[in-house]
Amino acid sequence: MASTATPAASAASRSAGGKFLTFFLGQEEYGLEILKVQEIIGMLDITPVPRTPPFVRGVINLRGKVIPIIDLRRKFGMAAAQGEETCIVVVKAHGVETGLVVDRVSEVLDIAEEDVEAPPDFGAGVDTSFLLGIAKSDKRVQLLLDIDKVLATHEALTLSPSASQPHTPEEENR
């Protein structure tokens, strides 16, 4: 689908390259633009907020500010899981601080512009507009996230066709 690939490619050419914070969700490695990242904190007690989508875990007290916590696993339609290294990456998107629950933070990578490719076309039904691009280095692959776009939608995003089972958040909540 050329129509979905074109805006993603232009986004990649606009902001690809630079420093990225990489983290894991399951086996997949993702990258966040380092300028968007505010801090990394350990897991805290999260106060659930009723009647919000399932990927909204709730809110926490970050030094006197109440910020929402998004579970990226659920946002991307993966099964929930919590391990020893689960932590919260606080980012600033649309001027609002938001915490992202990730499995494990990896490292800060300097990614050269030529290593970034436009997101591949997964075919119909898969939206890749929230990806800045895909970085390939040292035989590893990082999916570079456009976090503003990820957080702009209130729906769960489906990244790979395998994970894209249709479900309604309302059902899961009850």
Partner: protein, 848 residues
């Protein structure tokens, strides 16, 4: 001639001179004094006795408020009384008595023909008009018409009077753009007519009270200090009185130097000139009367807000007082038999007072500000610029020797130093006033450097952080190590930090608080504007305008208050004629008050108008389908119907109110501030709106409740009561869900654990607790597991991060550092309504 009686009459006259028909107390006192006089008179003094009796009747008719034109009646009564006094003094019937009595009889409705006022009465009527109170203009217009129809209106008088009539009609019809200017123009025309009459050879034998304006230059020389055949004793009394008034005026003028807008002080000066003018004219002291008259004109312009009592105008007023003092002194020595000369500069001052603007006088400083060579640099050296004291300024300007100031300070007592200095004659009034003016300017300079503008978002953040500090501190203070350890020293230190933190919290909350004063002032203006447009007389009273409230709430409170004040004047108060018919004062009263009650601010708006009409509200509510039947509705329930959207009780749409924005918007605004509005009303007696608001929006008084694993904060404002029901009190009604019976009232049961899908919650209301919440006049029972206690929390919005969450008003950080959600009762009810069909459906099948 009876001297004692003469003295009493004179006192009565000077007292009545400043009274208006509304001043019931003064009128009542005057009427009873008058009665005493005429009943004490012997029968043979028939004419005078009858005349005084008639005057008393006149006053009583004013008091009874049954007369259509009380101002005219009062004027006639006062004129007649003056004529009585004159003929008492001359021990014979004066020429002015008969016509004055005739006019009074006519005003009282005792005359046979239509009352025809004289030109003097017209002037008297006009003089009592106020630019901000045009209620009596129609009466004046009618009187002027009547006068024009009589032969007394000679061709020479006709032209100015016709023009004056046109101005007054414009004011009456509300078509005059500048009411004050139109009245001034009409007044000049009336005065011109009076002049034309006096100049005519056929002029009556009236004693001219004022010299003709055109002859002002030569007037003074033509006037003697003491009139021939003056009453020495009476003038002596007058001078004593005069001195008192001058002292009051001096003190008030000095107060005006500190605050040029002080209405009380302005009134004091005005009253002083006014009274001196009246009495002096009566005693034939033309010079004093003329000076006081012109000064009074200047003061009335200040009182009406046309000019400010600053700069040149203030100087002029000060000079007038000084001149009055000098005149009084000259009179005193003249009485003692010494040859007294007129004070120098009297003529020039009279001219200046007649046309201040023509002489280039304005609110600006006329003379360059006096410098303080000695004091200012010294003050500048200090880090905090102290404002020099009044005495220091006077000494530095070499107006008063230091010893005199020190002496005055020693004797000072309760009064300000300036008053003491002027009264003892140690300093000139003008010098003290200038020194005060300089002091005020220095003070303002000092204040400017002492304030810093701070962006409000920074302020808000600071307050947030202080709130967090309080919570963080309580976490430390309640820490196991601190409480149960043996560290006595540590405990002491923690307690000390706690004290500082609390003080910091109070301070930061105070930074957001502003007094309601400016809001109240705006409302006074709104009331006046609406009243003028509607031709209603309103007295707007404010109380507690120093009450402080959160800055953000002041802005939001403004709109609903404007609407309510407009309503009160437009719909609440009756027109003056109707009020009079109902036996109420013509002037309606609207009272706006504010005070603190616990942790809320109460704002009350009260009018003494017609009150809410229960029948009319019910009729309209039924017509609009707001209620099914009027049966069994209590008054307050009926009144609260006016808050329903689209409800308006105004019989007609006026320019001011009734443009679709109704009380529903007012209620919405108030509720957005987490406030409440209640109405109390009595037909014919008026309506009172009571608004209750939290002190600040930043802090919510809440009840911490537990439901299953979760804790929520319920705003205390919406909680009525909590109880644990008997099993028999629970009902299930198909189509309406679950209900619970509380003292004969069936309340819908809200299960929060179901609405919010909270695990591990107590589903049985007889084992949990029901909290009764009030939403839009309806009550609901909210099922919770337990109450954890009251808590003040700093409310934070979730809107920016999560958007609107139904049933949740915001979030707050609890004592243990975790986030608690604040429940929104109205949202919960809406949620429950939405779910109701599903709920009933779930209850019916056995599988549930």
């Amino acid at each position: 001639m009876d001297r004692e009686r003469q003295r009493t009459l004179r006192r009565l006259l000077s007292m009545l001179g400043g009274l208006r028909p509304q001043d019931r107390e003064g009128l009542g006192a005057a009427a009873s004094v008058l009665e005493e006089i005429w009943t004490a008179l012997p029968e043979e003094a028939g004419a005078l006795r009858e005349a005084l009796q008639l005057c008393q009747e006149g006053l009583q008719a004013v008091l009874a408020e049954t007369h259509p034109e009380p101002t005219r009646l009062l004027a006639a009564a006062v004129a007649a009384l003056a004529a009585c006094a004159q003929c008492n003094q001359q021990a014979q019937e004066g020429p002015a008595l008969a016509p004055a009595l005739h006019a009074l009889r006519q005003a009282l409705g005792k005359g046979q023909e239509e009352p025809v006022p004289s030109l003097d009465e017209l002037l008297a009527l006009f003089v009592q008009l106020e630019p901000d109170n045009t209620a009596d203009v129609p009466a004046l217009v009618a009187a002027l018409r009547a006068f024009l129809a009589t032969p007394a209106a000679t061709p020479a008088l006709r032209q100015p009077l016709q023009q004056a009539l046109a101005y007054l009609e414009a004011v009456r019809d509300g078509t005059a753009t500048e009411v004050a200017a139109a009245l001034t123009a009409a007044g000049q025309l009336l005065a011109a007519a009076a002049e034309a009459r006096d100049a005519a050879p056929a002029a009556r034998e009236d004693v001219p009270e004022r010299p003709p304006q055109t002859a002002a230059a030569g007037a003074v020389s033509g006037m003697a200090l003491l009139p021939p055949g003056a009453e020495i004793e009476l003038i002596g009394d007058f001078l004593v009185e005069c001195r008192e008034y001058i002292e009051q005026a001096e003190a008030a003028l000095l107060a005006l130097e500190t605050d040029p807008e002080d209405p009380e002080a302005l009134n004091t000066v005005f009253r002083a000139f006014h009274t001196i003018k009246g009495t002096a004219a009566f005693l034939g002291l033309q010079l004093v009367s003329e000076l006081a008259h012109r000064a009074e004109t200047l003061l009335s312009r200040m009182r009406d807000g046309e000019i400010r009592c600053t700069g040149g105008y203030a100087d002029l007023a000060l000079q007038a007082v000084d001149m009055l003092k000098a005149l009084a002194q000259a009179l005193q020595s003249a009485l003692a038999g010494a040859s007294a000369s007129l004070p120098a500069g009297l003529e020039a001052l009279l001219d200046l007072l007649a046309h201040p603007e023509a002489a280039g006088i304005s609110e600006e400083e006329t003379s360059p500000p006096p410098s303080l060579p000695d004091l200012v640099p010294r003050a500048g050296e200090q880090k905090t610029r102290a404002v020099p004291r009044l005495g220091d300024i006077l000494v530095a300007q070499q107006k008063v020797p230091r010893e005199t100031v020190e002496q005055a300070v020693a004797q000072q007592g309760q009064e300000p130093l300036g008053v003491t200095l002027t009264r003892s004659g140690a300093a000139q009034l003008c010098d003290v006033a200038h020194a005060l003016r300089l002091q005020r300017r220095l003070l303002q300079d000092g204040q400017q450097s002492a304030t810093v503008r701070v962006r409000t978002d920074r302020l808000d953040r600071l307050i947030d952080m202080v709130g967090e500090l309080v919570i963080a501190h309580s976490m430390v203070a309640q820490d196991h190590v601190v409480i149960h350890g043996k560290h006595h020293e540590l405990l002491k230190k923690v307690a000390h930090v706690g004290k500082i933190v609390r003080e910091l919290q109070d301070l930061s909350m105070a930074m957001r608080m502003v007094p309601l004063k400016s809001t109240f002032q705006k409302m006074a203006r709104v009331a006046r504007d609406v009243a003028t447009r509607q031709g209603k007389a309103v007295q707007f009273v404010t109380e507690g305008e120093e009450t402080e409230i959160d800055r953000t709430m002041v802005d939001v409170l403004n709109d609903p208050l404007v609407h309510m004040v407009r309503n009160a004047v437009d719909h609440g108060l009756e027109p003056p004629e109707e009020r009079q018919r109902l036996g109420k004062p013509r002037t309606g009263t609207v009272r706006l008050a504010a005070y603190h009650a616990g942790s809320s601010v109460v704002v009350e708006l009260q009018d003494d108008g017609r009150g809410l009409c229960r029948e009319k509200i019910l009729e309209k509510a039924l017509a609009r389908g707001l209620i099914a039947s009027a049966q069994g509705l209590a008054d307050h329930e009926v009144f609260s119907l006016i808050f329903a959207p689209g409800f308006s009780t105004a019989e007609r749409v006026t320019e001011v109110s009734g443009r679709g924005v109704g009380m529903d918007v007012v209620k919405r605004h108030i509720e957005a501030l987490r406030g409440r509005i209640d109405i109390a009303s009595e037909p014919g007696r008026g309506t009172t709106f009571t608004i209750r608001l939290p002190l600040t929006l930043a802090i919510t008084d809440g009840m911490l409740v537990r439901i299953g694993t979760q804790r929520y904060i319920l705003p205390t404002m919406s909680i009525a009561v909590s109880f644990r029901p008997e099993p028999s009190a629970l009902r299930t009604v198909v189509g309406q869900g679950e209900l619970v019976l509380l003292r004969g009232e069936l309340l819908p049961l809200l299960r929060l654990h179901r609405l919010f899908a909270i695990p591990e919650a107590e589903p049985d209301p007889t084992r949990g607790l029901l909290v009764v919440i009030q939403v839009h006049e309806r009550r609901y029972a909210l099922l919770v597991d337990e109450l954890l206690g009251q808590q003040q929390v700093v409310a934070k919005s979730l809107r920016a991060s999560l958007g609107e969450v139904p049933g949740i008003a915001g979030a707050a950080i609890l004592g243990d550092g975790r986030v608690g959600l604040i429940l929104d009762p109205a949202g919960l009810v809406a949620l429950a309504r939405e779910r109701l069909p599903a709920e009933t459906a779930r209850m019916t099948p056995p599988a549930a």
